[in-house]
């Protein structure tokens, strides 16, 4: 019972990690860039939703949609205005650029809110649900539902629609795609937008249950990395499973070993995976496909 309850709570956490990891994966697969500023996009999503809910007084769902749309635009702008312009330089440049814009976002959040710690009013004030002896909060249910719907929509779009097939082709070979007349720049912009928007959903979902502060993104970046690494870098399905596994692992480590270790589970996962299975849990399956 203890283990099951831990696993259940872990899955709810993991769902958010999965979303963040997936959103980082989208950017990575499409543009080969690993976005070290992604945590700050998650933070930005949370802050924007706060703005709309608390300051503009909009309902949560409407605010969430607006926030995600804004972050999509921000993602496109970052790609076209910053990343695309340093294409010619070394790869280190991309990483530094991502860190830089993330830092600017953090600075903006800090300049606007400064010393204030921002509590969001509770959004889903519903009683917890009991499944036998297991308990699950309404917050967790909402997260499950939102992430589930998004994941299904994403995978359908990417693997089943014709637009998705074009995207897949582009991920395989940019040069080929350019020859066939596809606008690679626009594609990169859109994928950055999608990545930022998905990341923002993560921020939107945690906003009601955590305290908002400008440094919020850092831990999501690490969890996203850990989930991605676990799932084999660049694999969408792997990122999702990796996120869920990480969420459950954190709770189990906390429950059975020490709660002090919860915060570093992600780091341990990264180091262990790279030491033992550098291609992630599903590395082999992916290698065979190529």
């Amino acid at each position: 019972m203890f283990a099951l309850q831990l696993a259940l709570s872990g899955l709810a956490q993991g769902a958010i990690y999965a979303l963040v990891a997936l959103s980082m994966c989208v950017v990575n697969r499409a543009t080969t860039v690993v976005n070290f500023g992604h945590g700050d996009l998650v933070m930005a999503g949370a802050f924007v939703v706060y703005l709309f809910v608390v300051l503009a007084g909009l309902p949560f769902v409407a605010s969430a949609i607006l926030a995600v749309a804004l972050l999509f635009i921000l993602g496109v702008l970052i790609e076209l205005g910053l990343i695309e312009r340093i294409k010619a330089g070394p790869h280190i440049g991309f990483a530094l650029m991502c860190i830089a814009f993330g830092y600017v976002l953090r600075g903006i959040a800090r300049a606007v809110w400064g010393r204030e710690v921002l509590p969001m009013p509770t959004v889903f004030n519903l009683p917890p649900v009991f499944l036998g002896e297991l308990v699950i909060t309404a917050d967790a249910l909402v997260i499950f539902a939102a992430v589930g719907v998004l994941l299904i929509a994403f995978f359908l779009l990417f693997y089943r629609s014709s637009a998705g097939r074009v995207m897949q082709a582009l991920c395989q070979s940019e040069r080929g795609a350019a020859l066939v007349g596809i606008n690679v720049r626009a594609f990169h912009g859109v994928m950055w937008g999608v990545g930022a928007a998905l990341g923002a959903v993560g921020g939107v979902l945690v906003a009601p249950i955590t305290l908002l502060h400008p440094g919020l993104g850092a831990s999501f970046l690490i969890k996203g990395f850990a989930a991605m690494t676990l799932g084999g870098f660049g694999s969408f399905g792997g990122a999702v499973v990796g996120g869920l596994v990480l969420g459950v692992a954190e709770q189990l480590v906390g429950g059975y070993v020490s709660t002090k270790l919860i915060d570093i589970t992600a780091y341990l996962v990264i180091i262990l995976v790279l030491a033992l299975r550098p291609n992630g849990l599903f590395g082999r399956a992916i290698a065979e496909k190529v």
Partner: protein, 311 residues
């Protein structure tokens, strides 16, 4: 010998500085080591390693713990601090050698640094936990380092020696091998250069220099606390190297001096620090990716980075 003119000129600083400006100058000296050490891996070797704050922290904690717990004098802990940093650098290089993918090194070293910080927080008995560890009054071969001026001269000598050694190194077969690996690792091996060995060497040397910087930092601040070695510090290190000039020793010095001093001017504006550093990085990446050093070399060709020496 022209090299030594700069530290010689700097030796006059205490005549015009008050203890505050002197402290800032001492901090600059520490960051010069941080930046030139980091630059060796990031700029010269071209490896995206995020371990620099970890190396810095290991050096600081090693120095502080040896002084506080084992009662060693300052002059005796400098080398162990460097060795501890070098050992951490070695660990990072092992990952770099395995680095099948460009970003793995970055992620692993990031995780490594945060794990270390966690261990500083939880290894209370040795590290003092979040409260940090007080560094006993340092003395350098009997000379008490209790004034900023005394610290300045000791730091100046250490920094001069290390930077000069790196300067020699970069203008030798070793420096060329390291840069060659960055430019084309496969071709480097075709010239009978053992690339793996030089990758390890660059990481180890970088760790050594940054580890020593850590021990100087510990003595300068008088206390080591885990918060000093987090991600914000890492971004400062990145900014120093990039703004100064990736792969340029002189650039590292320039970046360290500029970015230790600049933030002093906009203290107290919330968010300004982050926006300034983020904005600075963006501007340099877009407009001047080779940093201040390249700008300076345009005006003074003598400052261009060379990987050989005439004399």
């Amino acid at each position: 010998m022209r090299f030594f003119l700069i530290p010689l000129a700097a030796a006059a600083i205490p005549l015009v500085a008050n203890p505050y400006t002197q402290f800032m100058v001492n901090l600059m000296l520490v960051y010069i080591l941080v930046a030139v050490g980091f630059n060796l891996v990031l700029g010269n070797l071209g490896q995206l390693a995020f371990a620099n704050t970890a190396l810095f922290g290991i050096g600081a904690y090693t120095g502080a713990m040896l002084m506080a717990h084992a009662g060693w004098p300052f002059w005796l802990v400098i080398v162990p601090a460097g060795v501890a940093g070098a050992a951490a650098g070695f660990l990072a290089s092992v990952t770099a050698l395995r680095g099948i993918r460009v970003y793995y090194l970055a992620i692993v070293t990031l995780a490594f640094g945060e794990l270390l910080r966690w261990s500083y927080i939880h290894g209370e008995r040795a590290t003092g936990g979040t409260d940090g560890l007080a560094v006993p009054r340092a003395d350098f071969f009997g000379l008490a380092l209790d004034s900023e001026t005394a610290r300045f001269y000791v730091f100046l000598v250490i920094v001069t020696v290390l930077v000069k050694a790196l300067h020699n190194l970069l203008r030798s077969k070793i420096g060329r091998a390291i840069v060659a690996i960055r430019d084309n690792e496969l071709a480097t091996a075709s010239l009978a250069i053992p690339t793996g060995r030089y990758i390890v060497l660059a990481f180890v040397l970088s760790g050594f220099v940054v580890g020593i910087a850590g021990s100087l930092f510990a003595v300068l601040i008088g206390r080591v606390i885990p918060e000093s070695f987090g991600l914000i510090e890492l971004i400062l290190h990145f900014a120093m190297v990039l703004v100064g000039g990736l792969g340029s020793l002189f650039g590292g010095v320039l970046g360290a001096v500029a970015l230790t001093a600049l933030p002093e001017f906009f203290r107290g504006f919330p968010g300004m620090y982050e926006m300034f550093f983020g904005g600075l990085l963006i501007v340099f990446l877009l407009v001047q990716p080779r940093g201040l050093a390249a700008l300076a070399a345009r005006w003074f060709p003598a400052l261009r980075e060379r990987y050989y020496r005439e004399r």
